[in-house]
């Protein structure tokens, strides 16, 4: 097992995104650090546009994540509906 993670700035833009990630990834661990939130998950983490839109109450382009992204770890795959991080192990 390897840990994938994504870290986002702690702000109003990312609050609903983090909630959505928690909904879609029950295994994820959310670490709240100064000015940032780092979310760890075993081997795989998925971020879904639909879930974020439900939390946000508006349309959301997944690439908006770029604005508040701090760092990540894992192989990335992104299309218009999902962003996935994976380690092969």
């Amino acid at each position: 097992m390897s840990t994938v993670f994504i870290a986002l700035q702690a702000n109003e833009d990312t609050r609903p995104i983090i909630e959505a990630i928690e909904i879609d990834n029950p295994n994820a661990v959310v670490n709240r650090e100064p000015a940032m939130v780092k979310i760890d998950a075993p081997n795989r983490l998925v971020i879904r546009k639909d879930t974020i839109e439900e939390q946000l109450g508006r349309s959301f382009d997944l690439q908006e994540l770029q604005i508040n992204l701090i760092t990540l770890s894992g192989n990335v795959d992104e299309d218009e509906d999902t962003l996935t991080l994976t380690w092969n192990s």
């Binding site: 840990t3 100064p34 508006r58 349309s59 508040n68 701090i70 990540l72 990335v76 092969n88 192990s89």
Partner: protein, 507 residues
């Protein structure tokens, strides 16, 4: 922000295809070899450039949109910082040393990375790669500019910030970073991608930016948090580019594996030496510390690095050579370098200090097997020596430098923290010294490259300075008695305390 519309949009994958690969063309009146003359000579074999794809599928139109948004956020906060005397909100003026080291050693590296990516973006034939390198080239110059801009607000009030560009080239402790980037820029395009895209961005940048920016947040420095996170939001894309690039090379031809592995070995070690500066910032320079260098390494070095190399094992890649030596050195490097910076503080454009008893207790807790045993006795002795002589402890003996990383050879033997590591090689009748096996390996693999190193200490003995320390200070733009020396007696400390007192009283 996007609103719901009825118009059918292109899928991300189609859009990416249209905005990258469909912009390319086959040359007709010149051969491909003439147009791209630099992609063969490193020995990397690429059969199909179209197999390279940015996993974020970011296209230039979206890039501009999001970067503009980042810049708006950045400048709103920088303006607020300047308008509200943000420089007085930091914990205390010791914190500024970390910023000075960052500005002198790291920000010029961003600019070097910009030049490098602008170059390799031209040298690679694949359009997807060209677009990604173009974005990263623009990112890197943005980072250099936003960092300089943010820190210029401190330059209005404090010493040591005023000559970072000259000091990047001339002062001694920045040459570890300068030589790292010069080495990368003097390499071919594929090696550059491994050096900066993979080793620096993927393996090491988290250790630089994430703890450092959290540290800035802990120490009340809104300006640095802002440029840090603004830069870091690009880093996730850079890291992904670096990882994609390495996978691409390994998937294209099995012959690429040994070349790529040798580059990983080399650039991991070179990166570790650059990070020794960062380790001193984390363990010693932040008045309020967020985590120790060791703790940061456990998260971003061990946990993340292990996951990465386990993933890459399917291509035959193994963890970098000397990983075990780096792991052993983690518990020593910040202490060894900080003791060096303290004794050569007459030559630093930032202030240093003996850690307080409370700070030493913290270090002992974070480094239970090394600090009290090896390093506290030296700090205590220095304290005693200063009390007895009534003068700051300075070592006017100029240090021997490593021919590869260019740091003073302060690091100890693997397995024996009581003995300096001595390594040397003779090449064409000349003797060269190194701080470690890792640095000696780098030299021995390409001696012709590293014999050319301009080392600050031997340089000081040659023309035009011929060993004159006063002339050297002028030459490195170091104002003696202002920029250098102990924090306790510095103008920075005096000013900060006076201005802070004024800001909180009506006297």
């Amino acid at each position: 922000m996007d609103m719901k519309t009825a118009t059918k949009k292109l899928s991300l994958k189609d859009k990416y295809k249209l905005f990258t690969r469909d912009l390319g063309w086959e040359p007709t009146y010149r051969s491909k070899e003439e147009v791209f003359p630099y992609v063969q000579y490193e020995g990397i074999k690429i059969h199909d450039w179209d197999k390279w794809e940015d996993p974020f599928r970011l296209t230039m139109d979206a890039y501009w949109k999001y970067q503009a948004e980042k810049e708006r956020k950045f400048y709103a906060i920088i303006d607020a910082h300047a308008q509200n005397n943000g420089h007085l909100n930091i914990t205390d003026a010791r914190y500024l040393s970390a910023l000075k080291v960052f500005l002198q050693a790291i920000s010029p590296g961003e600019y070097a990375a910009h030049k490098g990516f602008a170059r390799v973006g031209r040298e690679f034939p694949g359009v997807g790669t060209q677009v990604a390198c173009q974005m990263q080239a623009i990112d890197e110059i943005r980072h250099a500019q936003t960092q300089i801009h943010a820190l210029s607000n401190y330059n209005k009030f404090y010493n040591g910030f005023h000559a970072f560009a000259e000091q990047r080239d001339r002062i001694w402790y920045t040459s570890v970073a300068r030589s790292f980037f010069d080495d990368a820029m003097a390499a071919g395009p594929f090696e550059f991608m491994i050096a900066i895209g993979f080793s620096f961005e993927y393996v090491l940048t988290n250790l630089l930016f994430v703890p450092f920016m959290s540290g800035a947040a802990y120490n009340g420095d809104m300006a640095t948090v802002t440029f840090g996170f603004s830069a870091q939001s690009d880093e996730a894309r850079h890291m992904t580019l670096g990882l994609e690039c390495i996978k691409f090379m390994l998937e294209q031809d099995p012959d690429n594996l040994p070349i790529v592995q040798a580059w990983i070995d080399k650039w991991f070690w070179r990166g570790i030496r650059v990070l020794s500066l960062v380790s001193t910032m984390m363990d010693y320079m932040l008045p309020k510390r967020v985590m120790s260098w060791r703790e940061a390494w456990n998260i971003y070095g061990i946990e993340n690095g292990t996951a990465l190399f386990k993933d890459l094992a399917r291509y035959g890649i193994r963890p970098p050579k000397h990983w075990d030596k780096a792991e052993e050195a983690i518990d020593h490097m910040s202490h060894q370098l900080m003791l060096g910076l303290y004794q050569w503080k007459f030559g630093t454009s930032f202030h240093v200090w003996i850690p307080s008893d409370e700070d030493m207790d913290w270090l002992a807790k974070k480094y239970p097997t090394t600090f009290d045993k090896y390093y506290r006795p030296r700090w205590e002795h220095i304290k005693k020596h200063e009390a007895a002589t009534g003068a700051p402890f300075n070592n006017y003996g100029l240090p021997k430098l490593c021919q590869c990383c260019q740091l003073p050879t302060i690091f100890t033997e693997p397995g024996d923290p009581t003995l300096i590591c001595h390594r040397e090689s003779v090449y064409q009748g000349e003797r060269y010294h190194f701080c470690s096996d890792g640095c000696k390996d780098v030299f021995d693999n390409e001696p012709e490259k590293y014999v050319q190193a301009w080392l600050p200490m031997p340089g000081l003995m040659q023309d035009p300075l011929k060993g004159d320390l006063g002339a050297w200070m002028d030459w490195v733009f170091l104002k003696d008695g202002k920029d250098n020396g102990d924090y306790a007696t510095s103008q920075d400390r005096q000013n900060f305390e006076q201005w802070r007192a004024q800001a909180t009283s009506n006297q």
